[in-house]
Every structure is written in C-alpha cells, then in structure tokens.
C-alpha cells in the first residue's frame, strides 16, 4: 500500500479539469501506453494567460493526482509563470509523493513543457491530427531504451530535485527501472552533473562564492524561518564550512539543530549543488 497524502487521494478520487479542449492553443503529451502511463494536457491561452487547462491521463492514482493538481496550479497564471513550474512544485503541492512515484510529477512537468514548446512555435501544427497519433518527441540522446528516457530529462530531474543516486533517478524518471542496463550511464550523468557544479564553484572568486551562499540564505532559508518568528544570518565562510547565527525564536530553540541540519543545510546543498557543512555560531 502506497503512503499517499490526503491531497493525492482527494485528487484521484475527484480529479479536476478532466477532458479535452477542442480549440486548445497548446497540447502537450508525455509518456506512452507501453510505459504504463501517459498524460495529455490541453491549454487555452489568451493574452499570455492560461485561461483554461484540461487533462487526460492513463496512469496510476498519483499520475492522475499530479495531472489534476497541475491544471489547478496553472489556470490564471501567465505563460512565464507556468514555465517556471517544476516537477518538485507539483509534488510539493500534493503534499509529497512516495519516492517511487516521483516520476508521476515529472510526467506532469514534461507534458507541460511539451505544450509550451508547441505554443511558442509560430504556426502550431497538431501532429496528433496530422498523423493520427502523437510521435514521441525526441529530446537529445536516449539513455534508457526501455522507457525512452533522454539525457536531458535525467539532467533536469537531477538539477530540479538534487538527485544523488541512480535509485533516485529511477524513482523520478523511471530510467533504469526495467532491464537496468543503463544504470552505469545514469551514474556517469550524475557524476558529470556534480563535477560540473563543482567546476563552476571552483571558478568563483571567494567574493562571488560568499555572495552566492548569502543569496540562498536570504532568499530561500531566511523567509521560511521568519514564518516561525526566527531568522538566520551569515557570519563567515571558510571554504565548504558555512558559519551562521540563528536569530529571533530560532536562537535557543531546542529544535534548532534539526532546523539547521534537516532544512537549512539541505537547501544550501541542493541549491549550490555541492556538499557543505553548516555550523552554528552561538
């Protein structure tokens, strides 16, 4: 039995915005019958705003829930806002998904990306109508031949979700989940991604590095702590050791170590793409 959130259950029980839009301005497809899940998303876009969105899904409970909530998330948003939505946003909005089901949120992201790409073409031809079916869009090199997963999708999933292991990549993209032959290539992609991240960090001057770290603290960590009446301040950086001071209600809070390790350090690591150690200065 999967551990589904209440919200996931609500959405597969009562999916919102089901169906097709006959005069859609953009249609996106992800997945296939062979793979066991497919999502088709229809968008109505007026004056650069998504005025309507509908979906059809062949898939499990979490695939239906991901599709359903995605339509709710995008209606009323501008195309630019919609473009910023990641699979993580979809999963977060659902109150989380079991790790093995994260690929359902990725399917939502893929379908949306596909739709917007079609929308941006000056003259959009619906290949679905033209050929009687929708061919799989090939974005770059196929890594997992069983599930037709491209390098680009794996790269995106690593970047958006801070994935570190092959198992995580499989949970998020399905790649490597069938015959498993591509697992070593996936490991190479993970290594390449983090080496590249590291190389970029190494190129930074000490001042640039400090600014980068401080930016994450100020825009991603501090606002969250402020919600609970606390705050955080950068004190010093010595290479990968980041010294911070907890303020307000965070200082002296008995859960502050957990906040530091489970939340702040994780956000920093994911955003910076490298291992750092967060140290509290009392």
């Amino acid at each position: 039995m999967w551990d589904y959130s209440e919200k996931v259950m609500d959405h597969y029980r009562n999916p919102r915005n089901v169906g097709a839009i006959d005069d859609a301005d953009a249609i996106g497809v992800a997945g296939s019958l062979t793979c066991g899940d497919q999502l088709k998303i229809y968008l109505k876009i007026e004056n650069n705003i998504v005025t309507d969105a509908k979906f059809q899904t062949f898939g499990c409970g979490s695939a239906v829930a991901s599709s359903s909530i995605l339509t709710e998330m995008i209606i009323g948003k501008t195309v630019e806002e919609v473009k910023k939505i990641t699979n993580k946003d979809i999963a977060d909005e659902l109150g989380g998904l079991p790790p093995e089901k994260m690929h359902c949120s990725v399917m939502g992201y893929e379908a949306l990306e596909d739709a917007l790409k079609n929308f941006n073409k000056e003259e959009y031809v619906d290949l679905d109508d033209l050929l009687g079916h929708k061919p799989q869009e090939q974005k770059g090199k196929i890594i997992c031949t069983c599930f037709q997963i491209t390098e680009e999708l794996i790269w995106d999933a690593i970047k958006q979700n801070g994935l570190k292991t092959v198992e995580e990549v499989t949970n998020y993209t399905k790649a490597g989940g069938a015959c498993g032959k591509c697992k070593s290539i996936i490991q190479d992609i993970i290594n390449t991604y983090y080496n590249k991240q590291q190389a970029e960090i190494d190129k930074l001057t000490p001042t640039q590095w400090i600014l980068k770290v401080n930016n994450v603290i100020e825009t991603q960590i501090s606002p969250e702590l402020q919600k609970d009446g606390g705050d955080i301040e950068l004190v010093d950086i010595k290479n990968k050791s980041i010294y911070v001071k907890l303020k307000g209600r965070c200082s002296g809070c008995k859960n502050s170590t957990m906040t530091l390790k489970n939340f702040a350090e994780k956000v920093l690591q994911d955003s910076l793409g490298t291992d750092i150690t967060l140290i509290e200065v009392k």
């Binding site: 999916p15 019958l33 066991g36 062949f58 695939a63 599930f147």
Partner: protein, 399 residues
C-alpha cells in the same frame, strides 16, 4: 462506521480458519515442550507433529510421511528443493524452468546463472499454457533439475504436471522434477505419485493456515543437500527446532482444505464464473487474459483496456474491495507483470489487468456487490483516459 470488506485476493494470502487457530493454541500455551526432548511432557508435541506429517502425506498423496519436510514458507521450500538438488548433483549445470514462475523461484535462478548454471526459461502461449515442445527440446544429459509451477499465481492456469514429468523422464531419467504447488494446494487434488513428481513445495497461508509455515515433499529416491544445517530435525534435511503450533496449524488446514476440494470445483468455481462472465458482458473494454486455458477454480485475470490497474485498485479499495494487479505501478517495480508479458498480453490491457481470487469465505452477495460496483469504477477510469478514440472504436467493435 465499519467498512465492508470484500476480500478477493486469496492468491496473495488467506484468512486463517478459526478451527486452525483453535488447533494451534494449546501448543503456544500448555504444550510448549520441545518435541525432540526425552521426557513424557514432549510426547504430545511430537505426536502432534507426527499427525500433521501424516496429514500432509495424504494431502499430496506421498507414499511415506518421511518424505515430508516442514519449512517456514513457500520460498524456503523452493530454495531447499532447488539448491538441495543442485548441491547434491554438483557435476550437472543445467536447469529448466518457465518464464512465468513465481519471483521467489525466478530470482533464485537468476542468481544461480551468475554462479555458472545454464538456465532455460520455457515460454507460454497467449493463454498462459506452457510450450511442451520447447520443454522436450530443452532436456539434455546435463539437466539436473526441471522446475515448473503447478498453477500460476497470477492467472491460475494449470500446468499438466503428469505430462511434463513424462516428457522430462523419457529424455533423462535422472533429471529431478520440482513442482511449486503453492497455488494449487487446497484448490485441486495433489497426487505426487500419479504425476511423477520428485519434489513439491506448498505454503500454508494460501489455504487458511497462518503465514510462516510451509512444507516440502522430497520423494525417497531423491537426495538433497540441506539448506539449513544444524540439529537433526526433519531427518537432518532442515535443522531448527520444530515450530509445533504452526506445523499443527498446517496439518489442520490441509485436512480442512481436503474436505473443501469438492466445494472448490462446484461453488467457488460457480461464483468465479459468475463474476467473470458478468464483468466480460457488462464492461466493453474487459478482456479475459487466459482465454480457454484450464485454470484453478478460484482465479480470474481480466484486463481493462486503456486504463491503469492501480487506479482501478484504489477505487475498489475505497469500496472495501481487495484485488490485485499486474500493473507496474502497484509493485513499484516500474515493469508490468512478467507473466502477462510472457503471454504477450497487449500493452493496451497489460497495465490494466486485475486478478480476482476467491476462497471458501467468498459469498454470493460479495460477488453481486462487485458486479454492481465495478462498471462505474471502470467508467470513471475510462473517462479520463487519453485514448478516447481507441476506446470508442473498441466499443463499436464489441457491440
């Protein structure tokens, strides 16, 4: 509010029969003696085990109760049989099995392949029936073991074990035949002698004994190297202090199952057929995955085209109905059932395949309830499918 529970997943596990539990209880309480001890206090435990062994002997129609070994489960029975035969015949490196075996067996063969064994996996046709010609061709001088399940857990399709034994023995009389009988025990009669079986495994929780007890039949002509080495229990074939209450439970469950065999082929089969024929006639995108194959009386495997199995199971579960699916999404394995794939069930139906398995506790009211509720559930899942054109075409076709 207590929700209705309609349990149609009896190939996964079954409810423990009250009579089985009752028979077991004294051996948890007052009769706790180690059956191997020398004092009078242990006599009742050792007698109870003897009696259970005799019951299992009759249950599978073995010649001698010495041919019965108690184990902890179906997987242990299979591991003891397979490794036991191979380790005893170290020079032979060839094994034959089928593509649709239970994962507990298939995963073991995959690990044996890595250790240098050559394994042939015999295919099945679209109804799930074993390709006997392929089997015939595969048996050779080097074949130590042929391992075939009596009935498949997902489809219920029965393999002709007597015929399989004939084929194997006529090609190589020294090749041993291990039969995984987990899915037939309590559903159809088992006769190891009439069917030329050398080793056979059963698991208690599939026929109303508790989880954690199984048995292995090894005929007197077959030698095995034990898997668990230690004390002298089970005539040295399986060390470890006897699990008296569970062995007693297994014996009682086998005795009851034997008495219900007629009920299986009459009443349970009638209810299964009722469920099956109603689903197939009421739901246009339903497909019987096993065609005309001979099956155990309690199982039906039906594919619902262009929809996904987990979604069906979730909607069923909301109504208290328990079934299982060959879909990838339910297992977390990402790949759909290896059994349905071996049968070449089309991709339109494989992900939406549901297994329904009944037991002697299944009632007519329960079957009627499922027949009443299922069409709406399928309609709900179908209405959100992106394959509306294909579904419409199917609807026209099945009219």
């Amino acid at each position: 509010m207590t929700q209705k529970l309609i349990y149609l997943d009896n190939n996964a596990t079954t409810k423990v029969d009250e009579k089985v539990l009752e028979a077991m209880l004294p051996y948890f309480k007052e009769e706790y003696a180690n059956p191997s001890s020398m004092y009078n206090f242990s006599k009742k435990s050792s007698d109870a085990i003897k009696e259970a062994r005799a019951t299992i002997r009759d249950f599978v129609n073995a010649k001698d109760e010495k041919e019965i070994i108690f184990t902890s489960c179906g997987s242990e029975s299979a591991n003891t049989a397979i490794r036991g035969v191979l380790n005893y015949n170290k020079t032979k490196k060839h094994i034959i099995t089928s593509k649709v075996e239970h994962p507990c067996v298939l995963n073991l063969y995959q690990s044996l392949e890595k250790q240098g064994y050559r394994v042939d996996y015999i295919g099945v046709n679209s109804n799930g029936e074993l390709n006997l010609e392929e089997l015939d061709e595969a048996v050779c001088e080097d074949t130590a073991l042929v391992s075939i399940m009596w009935a498949n857990n997902e489809t219920g399709v029965i393999n002709p074990i007597g015929k399989i034994s004939e084929i194997v023995k006529s090609k190589n009389k020294d090749t041993k035949l291990f039969v995984d009988a987990v899915q037939v025990a309590g559903k159809i009669p088992i006769d190891v002698q009439a069917n030329g079986v050398d080793l056979l495994g059963i698991s208690g929780h599939k026929f109303h004994a508790p989880k954690g007890i199984g048995a292995l039949y090894v005929n007197s002509k077959t030698m095995i190297t034990p898997l668990i080495i230690g004390g002298h229990q089970e005539r040295g074939k399986r060390a470890g202090t006897e699990n008296t209450p569970y062995i007693v439970g297994l014996g009682k469950a086998a005795e009851l199952a034997q008495s219900y065999l007629d009920y299986e082929v009459t009443e349970i089969k009638r209810l299964r057929d009722k469920l099956e024929s109603n689903i197939l006639s009421k739901i246009y995108n339903a497909r019987l995955n096993t065609g005309v194959a001979n099956r155990v009386p309690n199982t039906t495997n039906i594919g619902f085209e262009y929809i996904e199995g987990e979604l069906i199971l979730l909607h069923l579960s909301d109504l208290g109905i328990c079934a299982s699916s060959g879909s990838a999404c339910t297992s977390g394995s990402l790949e759909p059932s290896h059994v349905l794939r071996a049968m070449n069930v089309p991709f339109t139906a494989i992900h939406g395949s549901i297994r329904w398995s009944l037991s002697r506790y299944t009632t007519e009211d329960e079957i009627d309830y499922v027949i009443e509720k299922l069409p709406n559930i399928i309609e709900k899942a179908t209405s959100i499918s992106p394959y509306q054109k294909e579904l419409q075409a199917l609807k026209e076709l099945r009219k």
